[in-house]
């Protein structure tokens, strides 16, 4: 699949000499959902704003559809839409005027049929004549999405699309994002909710302190960096770990009935068979066994912690 977005060696300093982005390199494939993860102040929004022309970056190049975003700003910006993090809307304007205004800004001829279809798709049609100030937070978020899609972009940036949105609405938003992607829109989203990235994205990048520290397929990342825990529930509690079991580095819960043993998915061998054999040899009876895989959130926290430790050492 071809790259729709190519970012090469992009660096951005703010006026107070704070480095917001450092030598960022990133390629986004056409048609994918890409999640950009990072803690607060990592540079996620600065990167998106640099791509969209909202802030100037200092060095490097950004290409959309193989066109430089500075030299060909008209063509590249027509292809992009952005949903900002904050609910930035003109409160006294109606939904209809707001969305049509956005389409006009992006140089598109008025198309009331398309806007009607878009508002219906986002369940906003019955609110079209309402002023923005009369809408709920979730509705406002949808208006922002409608505005970003009003000019039919190929590349959509969602900057924390479900921030401060309740769980039900978040799932609703996810459906909207999936539907858009199915319709051919490439989506780049930043999020604090790792669950969101896990649910939606094909690939993931982790950004910390202005640097991209990892880019990978979501599934591969979970497989590569993830750990698995086997939990063995015993029929009777055991008082002490002795006999054959002393060689294992496992934990026993407070009831002395559940043994938790963590192993790396990526290692060639695990000692699970041996552990089960030793339990049998020690005459301990097993009631149940289950496994738990580490989530993207745990991987993310681990990565950021490691990266921060490295920064401190340097």
């Amino acid at each position: 699949m071809k790259n729709i977005l190519e970012i090469k060696n992009v660096t951005k300093f703010y006026k107070n000499s704070v480095k917001a982005l450092e030598n960022v390199n990133l390629n986004i494939k056409e048609g994918e959902i890409f999640a950009l993860l990072g803690p607060n102040g990592a540079g996620k929004s600065t990167l998106i704003n640099s791509i969209c022309g909202i802030v100037n970056f200092n060095t490097g190049t950004i290409k959309i559809n193989n066109m430089d975003i500075i030299k060909n700003y008209r063509a590249t910006r027509k292809m992009t839409g952005i949903v900002p993090q904050e609910l930035n809307l003109e409160s006294f304007e109606t939904v209809w005027n707001n969305v049509n205004y956005s389409r006009g800004l992006f140089g598109k001829r008025p198309d009331h049929n398309y806007i009607e279809k878009l508002l219906k798709q986002l369940s906003l049609w019955d609110k079209k004549d309402n002023k923005i100030k009369e809408l709920s937070g979730g509705m406002k978020r949808r208006v922002l999405i409608a505005k970003a899609l009003s000019h039919q972009p190929k590349l959509l940036f969602l900057d924390e699309p479900t921030a401060s949105v309740d769980v039900e609405l978040r799932k609703d938003m996810w459906d909207v994002v999936k539907k858009l992607n199915k319709d051919g829109v490439t989506i780049i989203l930043t999020t604090h909710y790792i669950e969101e990235a896990e649910e939606l994205s094909d690939r993931v990048a982790v950004i910390n302190d202005g640097k991209i520290i990892l880019v990978d397929d979501k599934d591969k990342l979970i497989e590569k960096l993830g750990e698995k825990t086997i939990k063995i529930e015993l029929l009777e509690p055991i008082e002490n770990i002795n006999g054959n079991l002393t060689k294992y580095n496992f934990t026993l819960d407070q009831t002395n009935k559940i043994i938790s043993h963590t192993y790396n998915l990526n290692s060639n061998t695990t000692d699970i068979t041996e552990l089960l054999n030793d339990i049998k040899r020690d005459g301990i009876e097993i009631k149940d066994i289950n496994t738990e895989q580490s989530s993207l959130e745990e991987i993310f926290i681990k990565l950021i912690k490691e990266n921060n430790n490295e920064l401190v050492r340097n």
Binding site: Y14, K15, N49, C52, G53, I54, V55, N56, Y73, R74, A75, R77, K78, T80, I82, P84, E86, N88, L89, E90, S91, F92, E93, N97, N100, Y101, S102, R103, G104, L105, F106, G107, K108, R109, P110, K147
Partner: protein, 253 residues
């Protein structure tokens, strides 16, 4: 050119004007009427004529200029500052619009509003005094050029203002005094020689003088100097805006 983009900004701004039509028009009409009551009736009873023109009629161009200057500045500065304040500016910055097109949309709308208000003031003035326009085309030339120039000036204020108070500082502390001291309500020939010379340093004097010439063929300075002055301010504003945009117009930092 992104004509749809320019049109979108223009219509969006004019829509705001339509929404607040009553406030937008009531304020200048009431202010003008009060000026006629205070200056036209109270002072006009003592100063009957200036340069052969009835005093009430004489002050009409100055009053229109006062309104045009303040309205152009406040409309344009508010129009550009408001999206900065509400952060809706992101959309304009992300749109395929050149800086020229952004300015054209905002300044075009601000100047249009001022022109409408200017015309309403002329109509209002007719209820109080006889208003004669000897050179209507020249009058429109000055009216349009002044509206655009000071809308550009307001746009600069909108780019640099750090708060709503910032929008008011220059209009209140600089523009209004310059208009009052620029011969809006008198001819500088009525001043002592020293103050006449000082008044010549006031650029607004040239605007009012040229504008008054288009009404009654009387002026304190030559028409050429007046035209040159307004064009100089216009070019100065364009250069300043171009420079600011090239540096990221304080928003793209």
């Amino acid at each position: 050119m992104n004509w749809y983009g320019i049109k979108a900004i223009y219509i969006h701004e004019m829509e705001r004007f339509r929404r607040t039509l009553f406030q937008s028009l009531a304020s200048p009409i009431i202010t003008t009427s009060l000026y006629f009551v205070v200056f036209g009736s109270a002072i006009g009873s003592r100063i009957t004529e200036i340069d052969g023109i009835n005093y009430g009629s004489y002050i009409v161009p100055g009053m229109i200029m006062l309104t045009i200057l303040t309205q152009s500045i406040s409309n344009a500065s508010f129009a550009f500052y408001f999206p900065r304040f509400t952060n809706t500016i992101y959309e304009i910055l992300a749109a395929p619009l050149s800086s020229f097109e952004i300015v054209l949309g905002f300044v075009g709308a601000a100047a249009s509003k001022s022109l409408i208000i200017g015309c309403v003031i002329i109509l209002t003035a007719n209820f109080f005094v006889d208003v004669r326009i000897d050179h209507p085309l020249l009058m429109m030339f000055f009216l349009i050029l002044t509206s655009i120039t000071f809308a550009l000036f307001g746009f600069i204020i909108g780019m640099y203002a750090e708060g709503f108070e910032g929008l008011q500082i220059i209009p209140i502390l600089v523009i209004t005094p310059l208009v009052f001291l620029g011969g809006s309500f008198y001819s500088i020939n009525m001043l002592p020689e020293f103050w006449q010379k000082i008044s010549l340093l006031n650029p607004v004097l040239y605007l009012i003088s040229g504008f008054r010439y288009s009404f009654y063929e009387v002026s304190d300075v030559s028409l050429f100097t007046s035209t040159l002055t307004i064009l100089t301010i216009l070019i100065g504003c364009i250069i300043f805006i171009t420079y600011t945009f090239s540096k990221g117009y304080r928003i793209k930092d």
